[in-house]
């Protein structure tokens, strides 16, 4: 997954390799594409943002003497005459994991220079993400209809609304931005920009399939954050 073209590049596994990388001259992550390293640094900072949201949610939920709303009922759906707990959230989780899987395969086919397959898989990922955002919009409008506001709600502790809108809203924004980029990259893949090494809009960097992996890192991160939101906000 690294770029062996960088001069003086040698791969040494384990902690020995890490010590040599860290103590080396000029470039720390030798052989790692700079775009990928920067995406990882961005994702690290984003991890801190989401951690702060989830930790403040923990603090808010833990410090209120009022009973917390039962997520399994609040997010339940009434289908075919039966109340199914947390149904919408479960479907959203499966949709996001599906799109994560198609993205992983897109990265694989990208590195194999299989343009068509890569493009179709990115498109499938984008459609999965779009479905997710759509269901989130449905969930928001349903809850707003039931009277959930950032300052009050009919189910229990008043803090529930503000944490819900803040956390899922921020995650939904990430998904939406990801979907936009997925559509752009699907177009760029189909147009063959990565085969020809065509330059992007704001960069002198030549197009390469490593860009698909960088986009994939972002998309998997969105899925990763949802794993934590699903566990702490919806299941806990």
């Amino acid at each position: 997954m690294s770029d062996p073209k960088i001069e003086g590049y040698q791969f040494k596994p384990g902690f020995k390799g890490m010590a040599e990388d860290t103590g080396s001259d000029q470039t720390m992550f030798k052989g790692v594409h700079w775009g990928k390293a920067m995406m990882w640094i961005f994702l690290l900072s984003d991890t801190f943002v989401f951690s702060c949201f989830l930790i403040s949610y923990m603090k808010g939920r833990g410090s209120t003497p009022v009973e917390w709303p039962n997520a399994s009922e609040v997010f339940g759906l009434h289908v075919f005459g039966v109340d199914v707990p947390l149904l919408l959230i479960a479907i959203m989780t499966f949709v996001l994991i599906t799109s994560s899987g198609t993205m992983a395969l897109a990265v694989k086919y990208g590195y194999e220079k299989n343009r068509k397959m890569c493009g179709w898989l990115i498109l499938a990922t984008a459609i999965g993400g779009l479905t997710f955002v759509g269901m989130q919009a449905f969930e928001w409008s349903k809850l707003i209809h039931e009277g959930v506001r950032p300052w009050e709600n009919p189910f229990g502790a008043a803090q529930f609304g503000s944490f819900f809108f803040m956390i899922t809203g921020f995650h939904g924004t990430h998904v939406s931005i990801g979907v936009i980029f997925l559509f752009i990259y699907a177009y760029k893949t189909f147009a063959g920009h990565y085969d020809e090494g065509k330059r992007g809009w704001f960069t002198t960097m030549k197009g390469d399939y490593v860009e698909i992996e960088i986009l994939g890192l972002y998309w998997h991160f969105v899925d990763l954050v949802w794993v934590f939101i699903f566990a702490f906000f919806y299941l806990w």
């Binding site: 997954m1 690294s2 062996p4 040698q10 791969f11 040494k12 596994p13 902690f15 390799g17 890490m18 990388d21 860290t22 992550f29 030798k30 052989g31 790692v32 390293a37 990882w40 690290l44 991890t47 801190f48 951690s51 702060c52 930790i55 403040s56 923990m58 603090k59 808010g60 833990g62 410090s63 209120t64 003497p65 399994s72 707990p85 947390l86 479960a90 989780t93 499966f94 994991i97 994560s100 899987g101 993205m103 992983a104 395969l105 694989k108 590195y111 194999e112 992996e213 890192l217 998997h220 991160f221 899925d223 990763l224 794993v227 934590f228 699903f230 566990a231 919806y234 299941l235 806990w236």
Partner: protein
Amino acid sequence: MEEIKKKEQEQTTTHKIGIYLWIWALLFILSFFSYMVDWYQFQGMLRWSLILIFMFLKAGLIMAFFMHLFWERYALVNVLLWPMTAIACFIFLMAAEFKYTLFTRLLYFFVGG
């Protein structure tokens, strides 16, 4: 040298599709299990521990295989994972804080100081 180069060459190409499909299937199964935790309405320690186990398994699988950290250079992996200890510290600090806040609220709202 030659051997290292050859090994790296294999890594720069791709991994077998089977790995991705296996991880994909495992993620589905783990998500199904965590949904079942809510379906059967497990409560207390059993619920919390099951939720955490499934969550960390899913997060680990996604990071290791979908985000390729398993095959990545150690220098990069360590730069990414060590800052997580700061988050863990923050969680412990705030856990102590919310217990104290709850205590003072109960004391002043209900007992009356």
